[in-house]
Amino acid sequence: MEEYNSGDEVIFNSDEANTIVKECIEGVIGGTDYDQSKVNQWTANIVEHSLTHLVKQGRPFKYIVNCAIMQKTGAGLHTANSCYWDTATDGSCTVRWENRTMYCVVSVFAVAVAL
């Protein structure tokens, strides 16, 4: 395992995660229209790229990255999350993105690892 920054307790930085995720989404689907044959690939790429960048930060966290892409047809979509964890060290961040033909919602959950 890589070495983690030890010392002070690490808290999840949700602004940084927000930026990382936005860039990943733009990189994968920025400028494209909803395409049923590709959407599978897109969601997989978005979660993988986001996770890789988060892990590169080298912080002592376990991560869960979730991505949902929905075609814009007027249907209603609602998402909710609830977490049972240590509120002092763990955190989450949700990014909503849209273009003309689809919505994309990505959630990142970070749970501190006891060292």
Partner: protein, 99 residues
Amino acid sequence: MDDYQTEEESVEAAIGGNAYQHSRVNQWSTSVVEQCLSQLSKLGKPFKYIVTCIIMQKNGAGLQTASTCFWDNSTDGSCAVRWENKSMYCIVSVFGLAI
């Protein structure tokens, strides 16, 4: 996992038999995740939990979801339940991380 049953029961209890209603769906998704979470924490196991719920109206739209996790494969796990009725789909995922 017992989780699968817990999740299914929570979904059925919260929205079973209802038709999609824009004004109530907020309340429903919140109540589904809260019920799942409280049933899971009652199990008394040494885990942190994350529960997510997606409710979508049935009107022909395409929906794709994916998750990836960076954790300890030997102790952590997840479980997803897909539920539907005549007017909506509901997808609930539970992630359990060992302490």
